[in-house]
């Protein structure tokens, strides 16, 4: 009988924390620079508001993107739990550790969202301007959904609910660590696990898969709407969440942890990324094609600010098609072969690419509308490097929080009933 020695406790390397703190510092410097850069400028009132909106849009885009990504990791845990999947058990603690970022980034995102909602600057959320809405039949019709009270209550319930259910599911998982269960205990544990995962999925369906992207992101283009928007956003965040899990699994494997996880598990993560990149593209295309086909001005306006039309291209079109290439063509072509999904280097490269690509996707979802100059009607791409600096700050935060969480719990849920299924997993 072969034995395998298992390093259960992750010890956070010093360099890891140094990098995380350095990245967070870069993020804070980027936010400060952006604030100084966008405020205290001379110009018309409208211009000043637009500059202010550019600052908040950056915070909105980054905090919402990274919140949805880390929350998608919790969704991955719950979806595989509900499907009674066993293969992910060998690295489930990694996903759990990433999901501890939800409350932290949730607080940041909540503060940013409410600050934008309640500020006097309505460049990002027009619908928050009570005066203007009274004279706007479209926004008046939507005011039952797009109003400050509902926005506040639902945002708080959402972030609180994600944090609470995530905490509950992590605690359930931890409860088995020093408690080898008998058959009845295992049955009871599986039942509890399934029920709580199902509750999370229900909340997830009511939030990420329907209302939350409409409320937080689509309402930036308040006059425009698309029923596919939430699924599209979910696809984006889920594939990025899978990329984040893969990155951490590869990192831990390279540091000689996670002995029970091997290429078979990584192969399945790669397949997930491949599949959901195509899923995302499918939703992107479905949304685009119907709007393109019916060609109605109130619908096409969304793509005119992002791609432009034959007469005039939008400044975002390069970013848009670049984003489309790295989110669709790259995963499609690179992840197609079996070997690439089992190779640490391609997996790491693709995970980074996907995380960056979907960050760009959120960028083109948030920025084009607030950047419109209402005198000329033109939009423009702001200095994206500053936003990237803010993104690095969030990356550092995720690294720091996840690293701490990884160090606190054993890396293997050794008493979970399905652990053997994961050990012998074969793709």
């Amino acid at each position: 009988m072969d034995t395998i020695s298992i390093r259960e406790k992750f010890i956070v390397p010093k360099r890891y924390n140094t990098i995380a703190i350095a990245l967070m510092t870069i993020g804070i410097i980027a936010i400060a620079t952006l604030y100084i850069y966008t405020h205290g400028v001379k110009g018309t009132e409208e211009y000043k508001l637009r500059r202010d909106a550019r600052f908040w849009a950056s915070l909105l885009q980054n905090s919402v993107y990274f919140l949805l990504v880390v929350n998608a990791v919790m969704f991955f845990i719950c979806a595989t739990t509900l499907a009674w999947g066993g293969w992910q058990m060998s690295f489930r603690r990694v996903s759990e550790a990433i999901s501890t970022c939800v409350p932290v980034i949730g607080v940041i995102a909540g503060v940013v969202l409410l600050a934008i909602c309640f500020s006097d600057n309505h460049t990002i959320y027009h619908w928050a301007d009570k005066e203007a809405v009274q004279h706007d039949p479209v926004l008046l019709g939507k005011s039952g959904f797009l109003n400050k009270t509902f926005f506040t209550v639902w945002t708080l319930i959402t972030i609180g609910g994600w944090s609470f259910l995530g905490w509950k599911i992590r605690r359930l998982s931890r409860s088995t660590d020093d408690n080898p269960m008998d058959l009845e205990g295992r049955k009871k544990y599986m039942w509890n696990n399934t029920v709580w995962a199902a509750l999370f999925i229900v909340l997830f369906a009511l939030t990420v898969m329907s209302s939350i992207p409409w409320l937080w992101l689509m309402s930036i283009d308040a006059h425009w709407y698309s029923t596919m928007y939430s699924w599209y956003t979910f696809g984006s965040s889920f594939v990025a969440g899978l990329a984040l899990i893969t990155l951490f699994v590869v990192f831990l494997k390279n540091n000689n942890y996670l002995e029970l996880t091997n290429e078979e598990h990584l192969h399945d993560l790669g397949k997930f990324m491949f599949a959901f990149s195509i899923f995302w593209t499918y939703l992107w295309f479905s949304q685009f094609m119907l709007i393109w086909y019916s060609n109605q001005p109130e619908e096409t306006i969304y793509f005119i600010t992002r791609i432009g039309n034959f007469a005039k291209g939008s400044p975002y079109r390069v970013l848009f098609w670049f984003m489309f290439c790295i989110n669709f063509l790259a995963p499609l072509l690179i992840f197609m072969t079996r070997g690439s999904k089992r190779n640490y280097a391609t997996l790491t490269f693709m995970s980074l690419l996907i995380l960056f690509g979907h960050w760009l996707n959120f960028y083109q979802m948030v920025f084009p509308s607030p950047m419109i100059n209402h005198e000329t009607g033109d939009t423009h791409v702001p200095m994206i490097l500053a936003d990237f600096g803010v993104a690095l700050g969030f990356v550092g935060l995720i690294m720091f929080v996840t690293g701490r969480a990884l160090g606190r719990a054993p890396l293997i849920a050794r008493n979970h009933p399905f652990i053997k299924e994961s050990v012998i997993h074969h793709t």
Binding site: F285, F288, M289, W292, Y293, N295, M336, T337, R338, H426
Partner: protein, 192 residues
């Protein structure tokens, strides 16, 4: 049609089969095939089979489907018989993507099924010889291919040693053929 000589052993358990397959290979015998009632993970590796090329074939069929759809639609709608649909350009790629996608899937699916049937030599009305009917039910049948130098008694003893049962020398048709089992199988047996 090529009738060859085989020595077959019947294994009742995977745990006996796996070490046996490895030992047979190490001893230098040539494994014709292992017949199992269900797919067994890792058996292909134990037998030393190479990865299948079916995916590559599927990719080529898929690309062919995409190109067929794109070529045909663009030829008909943008060159041969231009029709104005709702003021859209004649070359309207977004509208064609669903059809290109469908044809990709169709070509890849049908092509891969047919390639698979060809590689495994299975098709309607086509027959293949069995080594042991129980390989379609509950046991695993290992077939060793013999050549002129094979010493039957030695191989039989070797297989028996490895835990095989019902070890036998058999003359079997390796390819597929059109016909009936009852008549044709008897014909093969007579030949020997």
């Amino acid at each position: 049609m090529a009738i060859k000589k085989f020595i077959t052993g019947n294994f009742y358990d995977e745990e006996i089969l796996f070490p046996a397959v490895k030992k047979v290979r190490r001893a230098g015998y040539r494994i014709h095939d292992v017949f199992t009632p269900f797919p067994i993970h890792g058996l292909d590796k134990a037998m030393g089979l190479r990865d299948t090329g079916l995916h590559t074939a599927g990719f080529i069929y898929g690309i062919t489907g995409t190109c067929t759809a794109l070529g045909f639609i663009s030829w008909t709608l943008a060159f041969d018989w231009k029709i104005n649909f709702g003021g859209k350009p004649y070359f309207s790629l977004p509208a064609w993507i669903p059809i290109m996608f469908e044809l990709t899937v169709l070509f890849a699916a049908v092509g891969m099924v047919m390639t698979f049937c060809y590689l495994c030599q299975i098709a309607p009305f086509v027959k293949k010889d069995h080594f042991n009917l129980r390989s379609t039910d509950d046991t695993f049948v290992l077939a060793l291919e013999c050549n002129d130098k094979t010493k039957d008694e030695e191989v039989i003893a070797f297989l028996n040693n490895l835990g095989a049962r019902e070890v036998a020398v058999q003359y079997k048709e390796t390819g597929w053929w059109l016909g009936r089992y009852d008549k044709d199988t008897m014909k093969f047996e007579k030949k020997n």
